[in-house]
């Protein structure tokens, strides 16, 4: 049940609980109770908005910065990750498997902004050994939603 509920919320977190309830075939109170519990348990961390950044501002830049770091004796990666989280400019911080250790996502108004931010604020952190910055050029799909032109691709009745 939670799985289906979450799937529906992922598609549109603003769906009326009454409609969620009818789709799932349960009373509305069960839906609101489940959502409340998911929030309490920290499974649902918030409700945000899905923006096509490049459409919002053609010059805006979103970057993913891969950091290689030396884990610290007392708290591994957590210390550095927490420091990174403290920067309001940074939108996301994740510990990764593979080549890089921490992946930082950030938005800036220009490529320069980002480059300076990385060299001044990230590369200088103790334990950060290297940084590698990648710029998102175009978004095709995000959170299950296909971006691109809004034109209906439904050919039924038209072919």
């Amino acid at each position: 049940m939670n799985e289906k509920l979450i799937k529906l919320l992922r598609q549109d977190s603003r769906t009326d609980p009454r409609e969620l309830a009818s789709m799932l075939g349960v009373p509305e109170s069960e839906v609101t109770d489940r959502i409340a519990k998911l929030e309490r348990d920290g499974v649902i961390r918030g409700y945000t908005v899905l923006i096509d950044e490049e459409r919002l501002d053609r010059n805006a830049v979103t970057a993913q910065i891969e950091l290689k770091v030396t884990p610290q004796a007392e708290n591994g990666y957590d210390g550095i990750a927490e420091r990174l989280c403290g920067f309001p400019e940074i939108a996301g911080v994740q510990l990764m498997s593979g080549n890089c250790d921490l992946l930082v996502t950030m938005r800036g108004s220009s490529f320069r902004d980002i480059a300076f931010f990385v060299s001044e604020n990230l590369a200088t952190i103790d334990g950060v050994m290297s940084t590698r910055t990648k710029i998102i050029l175009r978004r095709y799909k995000e959170e299950g939603v296909v971006f691109g032109d809004d034109d209906d691709t439904d050919e039924r009745g038209k072919l």
Binding site: E19, S22, M23, R156, G157
Partner: protein
């Protein structure tokens, strides 16, 4: 040329399909949101598409045997035994056709003599009656009612049987009403048919799309019924394969062998690429079907609730992918409702009257659309109804 005397009287007397009319209007207008089409919004499962691609890469592009590839007929036999509990011989009781549509045409033409009556529960899909007329038969509507859950009742059937009755069409799960016949409903029908020489054309194209408790039951699975039943099924709805044009008929050999002759001369064989890929659909796509059914079910519940919220009474459908609300309280006919809705709110739905006279007072809304699309269209319908 004098086309009027050139053309057959029968063909001239046929009315064109009332479903197409509405999406032809929709196609000429901008920004119309449609809830009118009767085909899945899902793409054919990727595995099936890949099988087709592989078959083309291998150059498998010849005709197949008239009745379809043996591999597909065997897969159909296995699938059918599992789904409805009836066994058919792949050798001479299964015929692969160009959609369920062709199978319906073959069955009616193989059975009907001049003046024979074919009983057709209504509202229903649009093809049975014109095909019966082309075959020289007489379509006899059996009106199903909302208060009976749009099911065919034994009394209704009994009252329409005459010594001319040749066949009964059994179109359940039903397009457009979404009605499903349970085993006990069918037992009552079987009781009426027992001892008669009436055939049943059981159009089970929506057999996989049932929701809630009542799974599809085939009348062919009831005692002593198999001998008189032609089961029609296909890939269009269950596997989202409308454009592949593939269906099949299952029937005892004496009936099927006659249908096969017609198919041989008029069609040769169903599309080869589609047949090769369809084996994958039957053997390898149960999860895809389950996922689609789950999604339709959510949309179905949502539609029923949104219609109730806007004050349009709506029978809760148990199958297919349509809701069939009663619109009489708006004071409009089905046709007026649909014309005004498309002009004023740019939403296309199909008038119930397109599915037989007894569909008057209803409209068919398809929920083979995304939740977002359904939500927006329903909002506009609510504005229309409440104004």
């Amino acid at each position: 040329m004098n086309y009027d005397s050139l053309l057959s009287d029968k063909i001239k007397s046929l009315k064109p399909s009332g479903i197409r009319k509405f999406f032809d209007i929709a196609a000429t207008m901008d920004d119309v949101i449609s809830l009118s089409v009767g085909e899945p919004d899902f793409k054919t499962p990727w595995r099936v598409r890949r099988s087709a691609i592989t078959s083309l890469e291998k150059g498998r592009t010849s005709y197949t045997s008239n009745s379809g590839t043996l591999a597909l007929r065997e897969a159909i036999a296995t699938y059918t035994a599992k789904q409805i509990g009836v066994t058919y011989s792949p050798v001479d009781e299964i015929l692969v056709t160009v959609g369920g549509s062709e199978a319906i045409d073959l069955a009616i033409r193989a059975l009907v003599n001049l003046g024979d009556e074919v009983l057709i529960p209504e509202p229903c899909f649009v093809c049975y009656s014109p095909i019966t007329e082309m075959a020289g038969g007489v379509p006899v509507p059996l009106v199903t009612r909302e208060e009976n859950g749009f099911k065919l009742t034994a009394e209704n059937l009994k009252s329409k049987i005459t010594d001319k009755t040749k066949a009964l069409v059994l179109p359940f799960p039903n397009n457009p009403t979404g009605a499903v016949m349970t085993e006990s409903d069918l037992l009552a029908i079987a009781e009426v048919l027992k001892g008669t020489n009436i055939a049943v054309i059981s159009d089970e194209i929506y057999s996989e799309l049932t929701y809630g408790g009542d799974k599809h039951v085939s009348i062919a699975s009831l005692p002593n019924m198999r001998e008189r039943v032609v089961v029609i099924n296909g890939f269009s709805k269950a596997f989202a394969m409308t454009g592949w044009r593939l269906g099949y008929a299952l029937a005892p050999k004496p009936i099927l062998s006659q249908m096969l002759k017609l198919h041989q001369f008029a069609i040769m064989c169903a599309p080869t690429t589609s047949q090769l890929a369809a084996v994958t659909a039957l053997t390898d796509c149960a999860d895809d079907v389950a996922r689609m059914v789950d999604e339709y079910d959510m949309r179905r519940r949502l539609c029923v609730q949104l219609l109730a919220d806007m004050g349009l009474p709506c029978f809760t459908p148990g199958g297919a992918f349509y809701v069939f609300p009663n619109i009489t309280k708006t004071g409009l006919t089905s046709e007026e409702f649909c014309v005004r809705l498309i002009n004023e709110k740019k939403v296309a739905v199909v008038p119930g009257s397109a599915f037989g006279a007894s569909g008057e007072g209803y409209v068919r809304i398809s929920y083979a659309y995304s939740l977002k699309h359904i939500g927006e269209a329903m909002k506009r319908i609510a504005e229309f109804v409440n104004q």
